[in-house]
């Protein structure tokens, strides 16, 4: 229950049209990109600009109301769900405030869609490098909150490596600037700590992000393998050889079949056990030698065929198929689990073999579509959730897969975040003391724990830190 009058006061700030309270209108905000979890928010407020956003956060601070910042709701860990609290939607704040072509950075509001930023700077031969597969929908604010990745992060780095500064409003309503364009700051790396904090540390008002020059030459290759193991070995060989492709993605047969049945059909060979999508970019000089080397390593690992995209349209088609693969799995079955784990790249053949074994033992179909070059797996399982037996097997398979990744020295999320979906795995990765240290940092930003409560760190790990740090110091 919200304190009396909050709804009216919010309406005074943003206008009544942008405060939603009726059950029907809240329904759309009960889930993000991972609809297996549904939490009912008490209210949704949609500030239209910086001043409104600050006023909203300050009001919620005064009235001691918890809230969850939300971008486009494309997250895959349930991070943007609000359980009886307020959703602050930032999708209306979508202006590109400044583009500095010479110094190659842009200042954008949090609701700017990732792909729209690239579209805005394209006339200058620049782009925004992090390219999560949801880039046509997800927002820069959400990318900052999740420290989003994407295929091209293999060479260019994740969101952390591309955000120079942030203006944020903290839980207490105070507005601060973190980071600087030169990377020069005094004090702790609060910018680095904030990026990936899943909406628990504050609300982004604007982000200054690095822009990257479009490479002079780009070659996109599709290699087709008779087994997953062969594709995994080719990946390990390419990485170990010291070539850094712009992207190196793998899709297995069930994924290929789903994509080829969708409107994003890319011409992937449906009889291949796996394909690798490899992109090389850089100066014109030397790129064709690299293409030849990659082709050789793929063939040495057992590739049946390797082809290079012949033109830009062909290249985009190959990428569209990859980027829409997760959505395409919707047509396979009525239910879908989406996972995100990372393993050391040398362990790919072994762990993928293990995942295949688990799938067979539990009689579930695992669709692998992932950032092979980073060792960032996305084992997804489409299934019929109305069959309790199948649902239980899927659940078991998922836990076994995650455990296998942890055992291989990996992590339970490379880019989707912990949210609520991965909370159970946190104690498997970190000691109680380490989890408590995370809570300690959170309490410095938000001593009342009103921002995105219940996410990222299991609640019981925070129990021992009940007192506000300021009071303890």
């Amino acid at each position: 229950m919200l304190p009396v009058g909050v709804e009216r006061e919010l309406a005074d700030i943003v206008g009544a049209r942008f405060v939603l309270t009726r059950p029907g209108e809240l329904l759309a905000y009960t889930a993000d990109g991972l609809p297996g979890y549904r939490h009912d928010p008490a209210l949704v407020v949609l500030p239209g600009n910086r001043e409104e956003a600050i006023a909203v956060v300050q009001l919620l601070a005064r009235r001691k109301v918890s809230f969850v910042p939300r971008g486009a709701g494309t997250g895959l860990s349930g991070g943007a769900l609000a359980d009886g609290t307020v959703v602050v939607g930032l999708n209306r704040m979508r202006r590109v405030l400044d583009i500095d072509v010479v110094n190659r950075w842009a200042v954008v509001e949090p609701g700017v869609v990732n792909a729209h930023l690239t579209r805005a700077v394209a006339p200058h031969g620049l782009h925004y490098a992090p390219d999560p597969s949801s880039q046509t929908a997800c927002t820069i604010g959400g990318n900052v909150a999740e420290n989003a990745g994407g295929p091209h992060c293999l060479k260019y780095g994740v969101t952390l490596n591309h955000v120079l500064a942030l203006t944020v409003v903290l839980a207490n309503g105070e507005v601060v600037t973190l980071g600087s364009t030169s990377g020069e700051t005094e004090g702790y790396d609060l910018l680095g700590a904030f990026i990936g904090s899943e909406g628990c540390f504050g609300v982004v008002l604007d982000a200054t992000v690095r822009l990257t020059a479009n490479p002079p030459a780009v070659r996109t290759m599709l290699a087709d393998f008779p087994s997953i193991d062969a594709a995994a070995r080719a990946t390990s060989a390419i990485i170990a050889a010291g070539l850094v492709p712009a992207a190196l993605e793998m899709m297995d047969q069930p994924t290929i079949v789903a994509v080829e049945a969708s409107i994003y059909a890319a011409g992937y060979p449906t009889d291949a056990a796996a394909v690798l999508l490899v992109e090389l970019d850089g100066p014109d000089a030397g790129i064709d030698a690299d293409v030849a080397a990659v082709e050789r390593w793929c063939r040495d690992a057992g590739a049946r065929d390797v082809r290079v995209a012949t033109n830009e349209l062909d290249r985009q088609r190959l990428w569209q198929g990859r980027k829409k693969a997760f959505g395409a799995m919707g047509r396979v079955s009525s239910h879908l689990v989406v996972q995100d784990a990372v393993i050391p790249r040398t362990r790919l053949p072994e762990v993928l073999g293990e995942i295949g074994r688990i799938g067979r033992e539990e009689a579930v179909t695992v669709c692998n579509v992932f950032h092979a070059g980073d060792g960032n797996l996305h084992p997804n399982i489409p299934y019929n959730g109305n069959d309790p037996g199948e649902a239980a097997r899927v659940e078991r398979a998922m836990v076994r897969i995650m455990d296998a990744c942890i055992a291989a020295g990996g992590s339970v999320t490379g880019e989707h975040g912990i949210g609520i979906d991965k909370l159970p795995y946190m104690p498997k990765l970190f000691s109680e003391a380490s989890l408590a240290a995370m809570c300690r940092l959170r309490d410095c930003f938000d001593p009342e724990r009103r921002l995105n409560p219940g996410k990222v760190v299991p609640v019981r790990s925070c129990k021992e830190w009940t007192m506000a740090p300021a009071a303890r110091a």
């Binding site: 942008f18 029907g24 494309t74 999708n91 919707g330 009525s334 959730g385 109305n386």
Partner: protein
């Protein structure tokens, strides 16, 4: 971690069109890729006015969590343009168009449509009323009064500006289409608005088709295509119109049914779906649907034949029902490519709706105008003199917006542009 529970209809909605279409909801994985493809989400900023939001509401209705009488729910269905831009963004293939029409049909069983909509749909259903209404409109246009009224504030002026925007160009120099004896036989769906207000475009369509080797045949007895009725949820009316048209086109003996109105073409191709529950008509509907083509498809199949130069900077604005519903993307570009002298400039978001959407701009003017304003700003930014489209609703919406907003660009039908090119080739003396 899991996709939403498969939708099990509650007893309240059993047997409704929505319950029958409900399985389509299960395809949605909630990825949100549709949000930025939805003009009403972009205009209104609320996820309830997005495809994903509306699918959630549909599921809420089906599962009994929400009621058909709840206006805070139904208003979001009313605000859907039906442009189906979300369908070509959806990786999992949610049949959104089918679902929104089923929702509207279900709603129509429980509550009356708005008065304006009821009136318009009624007019389009009755040939005599329609003929009369269009004659009145033409007469009004002839007086020049709408041109004056179009200058008033947009709230009042828009319908007049739409009417004014249909005024054809003055007598064009014509040309003699290359005569053919054995080309495919095509029958033109003349369309209500097209024939009533844009007859010059219909004549141009006949000329350019003939010039590309098609034989035109008549199809007497054809009526309104029924698209407006189907989109609004008045399925019985749409079915009645579809049967009349199927019969007329069968009688014509045409190899192809061709239309220059993307909205009409879309429903022609969906006649099979519309009459799926009617065993007597299902197969006949399938036959006509399979033979239906947009004019650009037929032209592109023949090249089309190149014309004379037209010097203009143009931008293609794809009608939703061509791009998203019919998935016809390349043929219009091929037609533009056949016109020497054209400078074709890109139009950002050319695949997004202009806010016309059948009678939407008359029943939901506020949202329609917000959507239109975005489109007009994009057109200005493109630097085009002419924005080219191929659907009467879009052309009237764009034309009226450009006219009343004092913009430089003008809206023109694709076929009229090609016709002008052929005329230019023939020279000023051709007749």
């Amino acid at each position: 971690m899991h996709a939403p529970n498969a939708t099990t209809p509650s007893a309240a909605l059993a047997g409704t069109p929505l319950a029958r279409a409900g399985a389509g909801l299960d395809l949605c994985v909630h990825c949100g890729f549709c949000l930025q493809a939805c003009p009403t989400y972009l205009a209104l900023d609320d996820e309830n006015d997005s495809p994903r939001g509306r699918l959630v509401l549909m599921r809420g209705l089906l599962q009994g969590d929400l009621q058909l009488t709840d206006e805070s729910v139904t208003t979001h269905f009313d605000r859907c343009l039906g442009c189906r831009g979300c369908e070509t963004a959806c990786p999992s293939g949610v049949p959104y168009g089918t679902l929104i029409e089923a929702t509207r049909a279900t709603l129509a069983q429980r509550r009356p449509l708005p008065a304006v909509a009821r009136f318009l749909l009624r007019v389009f259903r009755h040939p005599r009323l329609l003929t009369l209404a269009l004659a009145v409109a033409r007469a009004a246009r002839w007086t020049g009064v709408p041109a004056l009224l179009a200058r008033l504030p947009r709230d009042v002026s828009f319908p007049f500006a739409m009417l004014e925007s249909t005024r054809g160009r003055d007598a064009k120099p014509s040309y003699a289409p290359a005569a053919v004896a054995e080309g495919p036989r095509v029958a033109l769906l003349t369309g209500c608005v097209m024939e009533g207000l844009c007859a010059t475009t219909n004549r141009a369509t006949e000329r350019v088709l003939a010039h590309n080797g098609y034989q035109l045949v008549d199809a007497p007895g054809q009526r309104c295509c029924g698209a407006l009725h189907a989109h609004a949820g008045d399925v019985p009316a749409a079915q009645e119109l579809a049967r009349a048209n199927i019969a007329a086109f069968e009688r014509s003996g045409a190899d192809f049914v061709v239309t220059n109105a993307a909205g009409c073409g879309s429903i022609l191709k969906e006649y099979e779906h519309l009459l799926a529950d009617d065993p007597a008509w299902r197969e006949r509907a399938k036959g006509i649907a399979a033979r239906s083509r947009d004019v650009s498809e037929l032209l592109a199949a023949r090249g089309p034949r190149r014309g004379g130069p037209v010097h203009a900077t143009v931008a293609w604005d794809a009608p939703c029902h061509l791009q998203h519903a019919q998935r016809v993307v390349q043929p219009p570009l091929a037609v533009l490519g056949a016109i020497p002298g054209l400078r074709v400039v890109p139009l950002v978001d050319s695949d997004q709706c202009c806010g016309s959407a059948g009678i939407y701009n008359l029943v939901e003017p506020d949202t329609s105008h917000r959507v239109l304003d975005t489109k007009l700003a994009r057109i200005d930014a493109s630097g085009a003199d002419l924005v080219v489209s191929s659907n009467p609703g879009c052309l009237m919406q764009l034309g009226a917006g450009l006219l009343s907003g004092g913009h430089r660009a003008r809206a023109v039908h694709l076929v009229d542009l090609l016709d002008a090119s052929y005329a230019a080739e023939a020279g000023p003396h051709a007749t």
